[in-house]
Amino acid sequence: MTRKCILRHRLAFYLLPVLLLLGMISCTKPSINFGTDIGSDNSTDVKALDIFDVKVSTVFLDSFPTSGSGTMLLGQYKDPYFGNIGARSFSEITYPGTLPTLTNLSVYDSIELIMEINKTFYGDTSRVQRYLVSQLTSVLNYPGTQTAFYNINSIPFDPAVLGSVDVRINPTAGFTSQKTGDSVKVRLPDTMGERFFNLLYNQSDTVKNAATFRGFFKGLAIYPDTTMPGAIFGFKDSVFVRLYYHDPGIVTQPKFVDFPFTNRANQFNNIYADRTGTPVQGIGRQHPEILSTASGNASYLQPSTGIYVKLLFPNINSLLQYPDYLSVMRAELKIRPVEGTFSPVFDLPPQINLTTTTEANTLGPALNAGTGNLTIDYGFGANTAYTYDVTGYIQQQILQGPENLAKNGLLLTIPANVYNTSFNRVVVGDQQNALKINQISLTIYYASYF
């Protein structure tokens, strides 16, 4: 027993300092970050390559729905790169929600159409705009099997103009040359006004039943005078017709009744583009793709007129053949608008998405690569670019064979909430573009074995 005690005692005496030290030991190494200052002789190198081909083309996509967008697009402008672009709107009004009590002494005064700008625009806003209003000769029913109205649809309307207005709009300040705030008013004919007035006075069925009213007044076409190009303005879709009258008395009481906007889902914009004389004048349903090399080493993106830019990376798979290739660490796509093709009047889309596409231009899932972080440099143009991290996409694509790479690529799109109401467009330079600052580039950073 004694022996054991001595032993334990002495062992403790010798090991005590060691145990104390052990107690001080922490579990983690201190954190050290050398930044770029100290490399290690054994770290893997990363090399950059921008030699892979990017095949750029302009593609024409089929029509797209424009109904129910909440926006009326009206106007026409001339774009040196995209042609004459115009938009007109078709919408419905209905009978007043509360019928006024008209007496045989009530007197009709006037009738006008009122629409409110939504402050969006594209083109030259300094010009006087002429808007014309006509009555539809056919009701707003979706054609054929369609479940919406498309940009290419149009509803027949009476060529006789009900009314027109010449107006200059300052959309950013929110007022017009009519000096009635942000509203644009179009005087309509008194014959129409008196007819509406009589219906109200007679409390006719027409102003009590929506279907009957629709049969009586099928709707409105509002369109620009094509001889006066300026800008396309956005208006709120809630256009309405206001009828003014008064009841006699010692003091005349001006009164009005509104025929409000209805069937929002049916309101749509017909958008047309005349590309004659532009580099992509031949594009259309019959000829849906034009290579950038055939259109001035550039391609043209304007989703609201149905033209998109498609990118193919036909030979990135050759990276796999590099003897030192280990892995793609990052891939960066830089899309450069051609210098001089954009201006504060012909603005670039603030956001462009990348969406996968096939040979038939069937859109696949969008890439989660952001919207391009556009930087605009009007001074020299050299720094104007959309930049994307396409690492994940390129990692997948390099594994594809050349057949697939020749077919499947990326389509530049603009975000869904604005694609059918925004006219912002971009001219994308290809790799053969005469100016380096206009050239699209794909840079692949790969980990190198050497």
């Binding site: 022996r3 010798y14 001080m24 201190p30 954190s31 050290i32 050398f34 200052d37 770290s43 950059a48």
Partner: protein, 430 residues
């Protein structure tokens, strides 16, 4: 005297058990315990060279090229082994705990200290013949232990990606040191070592911070070869009070055979490339000289200078360059002795030392210097065969200039030694 014999036997037995317990627990500890200290400077070549001997000279800042001691196994200069007492057998274990406080721009402000404890040495030695002292042992020759993050250029466009580096492992030395005494004034020694061990490094580069894209490069190099170093000591009494000893050590240029294997893993799991090659790593020639003077066999003054020709090596990175290493140290020791049974023996000692070491590397244009002070004491137990020697060290290594790291470190070394008669116990009463 059977009673005394009994006591000695008892104590001898229990001391041996304690000694072995310490030995095995230290071996287990050094295997099972991760090394926490982070020495980014160890990433060059074969890592941090262990130039501090954890032995009797620890408290003297490892000054001992000319040092001779009859009780301790000193391998700073193999020639000193001939000074061992005849008929004695000794075993020593050296361990060292080190606390480091790191400073400099790269160091995190919240996580800037570490402590670890490592097994540094196990040696057994004896006098094989009257003039021939011999010791065998194992000790680390170099250690590599670092972990740091950084950034790496992505191509030439100025973009950076995160990188992570770690290295661990080291080279061990199994040695057999011999010293032979001629004419009671001259000793010649040789240490034959076999160096072996693996150094592992890992570098991870990531596509972007937080990205799931990363490539790790795992290098493992196994080094091995024989290595020899030589020493000579000349010692004499100057007069009645003063003794002097002069020492020289030398090792010619040697090399390690390296077996190098690189494996590159994608996302740390799928091996995409691997390569194996063999080569050599040169250990440059080294030189050292020392002097020791002793007054009245009690007060000892020591001084050493060592030099190694690392400047002859070429680095394959521009961040690190080799330069010749130099180390100078001085020490002072007071040894308390007592006479019993007609023999003078040491009961305790205290030591102090200073050192300055210009290491073999230049990082970011700055030579890495290491300097510090040491103090030590030792007690030779009266009734036990077990002795304890403790030395403390405070030093500064590196600099905070040029985005480098300065280490303020505090070390404590423990040398446990077991000492008993060799072959026959009866000789003690000669």
């Amino acid at each position: 005297m059977p009673h005394i014999f009994n006591m000695i036997n008892l104590n001898g037995f229990s001391s041996m058990r304690i000694f072995l317990t310490i030995l095995f627990s230290m071996l287990l500890l050094s295997r099972g315990n991760a090394q926490n200290n982070n020495s980014p400077y160890s990433l060059l070549g074969i890592g941090d060279l262990e130039d501090g001997f954890v032995n009797r000279t620890s408290g003297l800042s490892s000054t001992g090229i000319a040092y001779r001691n009859s009780r301790s196994l000193i391998t700073n200069n193999p020639a000193s082994l001939s000074a061992l007492d005849n008929q004695w057998f000794a075993g020593e274990i050296g361990i060292r705990g080190k606390y480091i406080q790191y400073s400099g721009d790269p160091v995190s402000s919240t996580n800037s200290t570490s402590t670890d404890i490592t097994f540094k040495r196990f040696t057994i030695g004896t006098k094989l013949f009257k003039h021939w002292g011999s010791a065998i042992g194992i000790a680390p020759y170099s250690t590599e232990n670092y972990e740091y993050t950084g950034t790496k250029p992505l191509g030439t466009g100025g973009n950076l990606i995160p990188s992570y580096n770690e290295g661990y492992g080291g080279i061990n030395k199994v040695f057999w040191a011999n010293g032979y005494d001629f004419f009671n004034h001259l000793s010649i020694g040789i240490t034959s070592s076999y160096l072996f061990g693996a150094i592992n490094t890992k570098n991870v580069i990531q596509g972007a911070p937080g990205s799931a894209i990363y490539i790790s490069k795992n290098d493992r190099t196994f080094y091995s070869n024989f290595y020899f170093d030589y020493g000579i000591q000349y010692y004499t009494a100057i007069n009645k009070h003063w003794d002097i000893s002069l020492g020289l050590v030398y090792a010619n240029e040697g090399w390690l055979n390296s077996d190098h294997e690189i494996t590159i893993l994608d996302i740390d799991s799928v091996a995409i490339r691997s390569k194996r090659d063999v080569g050599t790593f040169t250990i440059p020639a080294s030189y050292g000289a020392g002097i020791t003077v002793t007054r009245n066999k009690k007060y000892t003054f020591l001084a050493d200078y060592r030099f190694q020709n690392w400047g002859s090596l070429r680095s394959n990175t521009t961040d690190f360059l080799y330069e010749n290493s130099q180390r100078a140290s001085v020490g002072f020791e007071i040894s308390n002795k007592k006479t019993a049974y007609n023999t003078r023996f040491e009961t305790s000692f205290i030591q102090a030392g200073l050192y300055y070491n210009k290491s073999y590397m230049v990082v970011n244009g700055k030579p890495i210097e290491d300097m510090g002070v040491t103090a030590g004491f030792g007690i030779n137990a009266k009734r036990s065969a077990l002795n304890l020697n403790v030395s403390l060290q405070y030093g500064i290594r590196g600099t905070t200039e040029n985005n480098l790291i300065k280490e303020n470190y505090f070390g404590a070394s423990f040398i446990f030694s077991y000492r008993d008669f060799w072959f026959t116990k009866g000789r003690k009463f000669e």
